[in-house]
């Protein structure tokens, strides 16, 4: 069965590419545009992996990540954080809060796909 990926980002221009790419790779894809929607989609869509942007309205990526990590039913969920800032302090925070990987924009799509596959294969 294909893995399920939830894409969480408020920028449609990157969502379109990510959605296209992940579908091409054979994943089942859902999209959320802010933090609150992301938490709702996790409950309904039950993804294996989230591509989570940090800077979002309503709830930041950090908050979503913390909320998900606090949920004992979601221990198997993999979280890959995406950010346009990429400061070392932020990376440290993301990893400390339980993200499995931290990817800085702009990124190579090829590398992102490789990373997602690698994490799902763990």
């Amino acid at each position: 069965m294909a893995h399920k990926i939830l894409i969480v980002d408020d920028e449609p221009n990157i969502v379109i590419s990510l959605e296209f790419l992940m579908k091409k790779e054979g994943f089942e894809v859902a999209v959320a545009n802010d933090g609150d929607e992301a938490l709702a989609k996790v409950a309904s869509f039950n993804p294996d992996l989230i591509l989570l942007d940090v800077m979002m309205p309503k709830k930041s990526g950090f908050e979503v990540c913390e909320a998900l990590r606090a949920d004992p039913n979601r221990t198997g969920l993999q979280i890959v954080m995406l950010t346009a800032k990429g400061r070392d302090t932020e990376v440290a925070k993301g990893i400390a809060l339980g993200a499995d990987a931290y990817v800085t924009k702009p990124f190579s799509t090829k590398d992102l796909v490789a990373k997602v596959k690698e994490i799902l294969a763990r």
């Binding site: 913390e66 400061r87 070392d88 302090t89 440290a92 190579s108």
Partner: protein
């Protein structure tokens, strides 16, 4: 008349007294006698002459002995006492005449003298106490100024119009020490010192130009102030601000000196340059690539039906350029991440100092006990300590309100360029929602408020904060991430030496201009270097070498304990085991130290423009002179010897060893037989000798040199 001649005269008188009356009586009797009586008497006398002469000679010898004894006890004893009394009058008030030797009359005199001295001391103490009270307030103000100066974070130097340094603070000393080039660094900041010229550090022309600017502004009634930036030999950039010291007298304002505030801006300039570079590489560097992409994309949009091959080529252009741009961005960020950090001014602070301060405040304000776990005590962080402290106390009070922990703990660690400061407590899990509200609200602790939120404080530091649980230990912590700082210079060294107020200032130097060594100037007017050496042995000509040079400066009649030269020297030959207990310097201590070829030029620079002083100077000078040929360094300045000067002042004392002189002059010092300590002791001795020499009419350096040469000790030693 000298005591010696008087003694000889007394002997002659004794001889006359013993023979005179007999000869005169005989002569009178002789004249009165008849011839027969005379012949009889001659016969009688001649036969008894040997025994008579013997008796007379014996009596004379006995008389001489008694006379000598009396002379020793009364005349010389009194002479010695007179010297001691002079000592009590001048150099050492607490000295007392010895009561044990001498006849009872002299002893009584001694006792009376001591009693008088005692009475005088009581009176003097009383006067001293009154003067001290009067002086105290003046001194306190001076001290306040000195303390203020020495603790200032800016480097401050005050000079007279000649550019001679009258005052500098600790910051200035550290800053210039860090800038010292080459072998000068072995001298421990020889460049800066009271009475030294500022022009050895700063360009003379620039300083004088700034003076001119100030004079003009003064004349024009404007704020007297001048700024300049100067480059040092090592390429370091200093920003200097000059304000005048105005003479208090007369109607027109005239400059009598100037205050320089010095800031090393090399780092700031470098950082600015790096920021410019980043900006440049992100703007100019992206222009061409963006142009290529734009052209290709426009073509693709405008001509949707172009050939497949051409279309493919345009797409390749877009792909290549975009990946190149991403790469450049990553590279720039990696290289310049430090320069991109926030511009809020942060200070370098030792992590444990920050924690200690927070601990005090939390315990004080919230009555909440604080403990510490593992702390990296060598970790420096960049912080705005006030706002950070506020944030820590704020979080502690929030925790207290919500979870009532029994205690809080601090932990400090680091990973690469990031420092982790953790505030730990034991208790139930908190919701991250709660923490996010805390992060955003304006902080408020025990009546104190700030418009800042925790988030803003963290952003100022270019840092991060988060909440994390240690499930196994049933506790949680807030982790502050702060940038690690590399401290600029050694901040705290040498606080130990001279725990009393540092001698960083001397306002009497305002009128102290010419520094050249003129032998006819007063002893108290010149600048001196007192020094001492430790050596492998006592025979320089047989290969003994210098292993330590210690020196201090005397300026304006003050021993400057902060301006010292203290350097071990590698003798490049094995130490003699029997000498090690004397100087306490071991093989390990000298190995790896600079050799004499490096140390001597630095010491020479330290002594520049000063008269040298040493105890038994001939010995130390011999070692220095033997190196003249090899190093090309000549110590041509005049040399004063405290051993000889002591002999000039107290010719009747038997010993002029340093220890004995120290005791005689009432100087107590700590350890000895370390070149620096001995040099300092010699300096103290010299300062005590100056007024004693003046009493003897020896006022100038030339007179002191001549008197020293004439002493008994000089003749037997050389």
């Amino acid at each position: 008349m000298k005591a010696k001649y008087r003694f000889m005269l007394a002997v002659v008188v004794l001889g006359l007294l013993m023979t005179g009356p007999f000869v005169v009586t005989s002569l009178l009797v002789w004249v009165d006698m008849k011839d027969a009586e005379r012949t009889m008497l001659t016969e009688l006398l001649l036969s008894r002459l040997p025994i008579g002469t013997m008796m007379t000679l014996f009596g004379f010898a006995l008389g001489c002995l008694v006379l000598h004894k009396l002379f020793k006890q009364y005349v010389e004893g009194l002479l010695r006492m007179a010297e001691t009394l002079r000592l009590m009058l001048g150099a050492n008030r607490n000295f007392r005449v010895s009561l044990v030797d001498g006849p009872p009359e002299v002893q009584q005199l001694a006792r009376a003298a001591n009693d008088l001295a005692q009475q005088r001391d009581v009176l003097m103490d009383d006067v001293d106490a009154q003067i001290a009270r009067a002086k105290a307030s003046v001194e306190e103000e001076k001290n306040r100024l000195a303390a203020l100066m020495s603790e200032l974070a800016q480097a401050v130097v005050v000079c007279n119009l000649d550019g001679r340094i009258l005052l500098y603070n600790n910051r200035a000393r550290l800053q210039f020490k860090a800038l010292a080039q080459g072998p000068t660094s072995t001298s421990g900041g020889a460049l800066i010192g009271l009475g030294r010229s500022i022009f050895s550090i700063l360009e003379k022309n620039q300083v004088q130009h700034a003076q001119d600017v100030i004079n003009q502004r003064l004349a024009g009634g404007k704020t007297a102030l001048a700024n300049f930036i100067t480059t040092l030999r090592g390429g370091q950039l200093l920003r200097v601000q000059m304000v005048p010291v105005l003479a208090a007298s007369e109607g027109a304002e005239a400059m009598s000196g100037f205050v320089l505030t010095v800031e090393n801006i090399t780092r700031n300039i470098e950082q600015e340059a790096r920021r410019d570079q980043v900006l440049h590489s992100l703007t100019e560097g992206s222009r061409a690539a963006l142009g290529n992409i734009r052209a290709a994309v426009t073509n693709l949009i405008d001509y949707p039906d172009m050939e497949a091959e051409l279309r493919e080529r345009f797409l390749t252009v877009v792909g290549d350029e975009v990946s190149a741009m991403s790469q450049r961005l990553d590279q720039t960020m990696a290289e310049f991440s430090d320069s991109m950090k926030t511009r809020w001014p942060l200070e370098d602070i030792l992590g444990i100092d920050l924690i200690a301060a927070a601990q005090r405040r939390i315990e004080d304000k919230l009555k909440l006990p604080i403990k510490t776990e593992e702390l990296d005590d060598a970790l420096w962080v960049k912080a705005d300590s006030f706002s950070l402290m506020f944030a820590l106390v704020f979080l502690a009070s929030k925790l207290q309100d919500h979870y009532e922990p029994r205690e809080l703990r601090f932990r400090l660690s680091s990973e690469g360029k990031l420092a982790y400061l953790d505030l730990i407590w034991a208790g139930p899990a908190m919701s991250s929602e709660t923490f996010y509200t805390w992060e955003m609200e304006s902080m408020q602790v025990a009546g104190e408020t700030t418009p800042l939120s925790l988030r803003e404080v963290i952003d100022r530091h270019g840092g991060e904060i988060w909440y994390q649980r240690e499930k196994a230990a049933h506790r949680a912590y807030f982790r502050f991430v702060l940038p690690v700082a590399i401290p600029e210079a050694v901040h705290d060294e040498e606080r130990v030496r001279g725990s009393n107020r540092p001698e960083y200032y001397d306002f009497d130097l305002f009128n102290f201009e010419d520094q050249s060594i003129d032998l006819d100037r007063k002893l108290s007017d010149l600048a001196y270097t007192v020094f001492d050496t430790e050596t492998t042995g006592l025979e320089p000509s047989k290969g003994d070498e210098i292993i330590q040079i210690g020196a201090a400066r005397i300026v304006n009649n003050r021993l400057l304990r902060q301006e010292i030269f203290n350097q071990l020297v590698d003798p490049e030959c094995p130490l003699k085991p029997e000498s090690i207990p004397i100087h306490g310097i071991t093989e390990e201590m000298v190995r790896g130290q600079p050799n004499i070829d490096v140390v001597l030029p630095a010491f020479h620079e330290f002594c520049e423009d000063t008269v040298l002083i040493a105890h038994n100077a001939a010995f130390d000078m011999r070692f220095l002179q033997l190196k003249e040929e090899r190093t090309g360094i000549r110590f041509a300045q005049p040399v004063l010897d405290t051993l000889l000067l002591s002999a000039v002042v107290h010719p009747n004392q038997e010993s002029h060893k340093l220890d004995v002189i120290l005791e005689r002059l009432g100087i107590t010092i700590g350890t000895r037989h370390n070149a620096l300590e001995d040099a300092l002791a010699t300096g103290e001795v010299f300062l005590k000798l100056v007024p004693l020499l003046e009493e003897k009419g020896i006022v100038t350096v030339r007179q002191a040199l001549e008197a020293a040469e004439k002493t008994y000790f000089a003749r037997i030693k050389y």
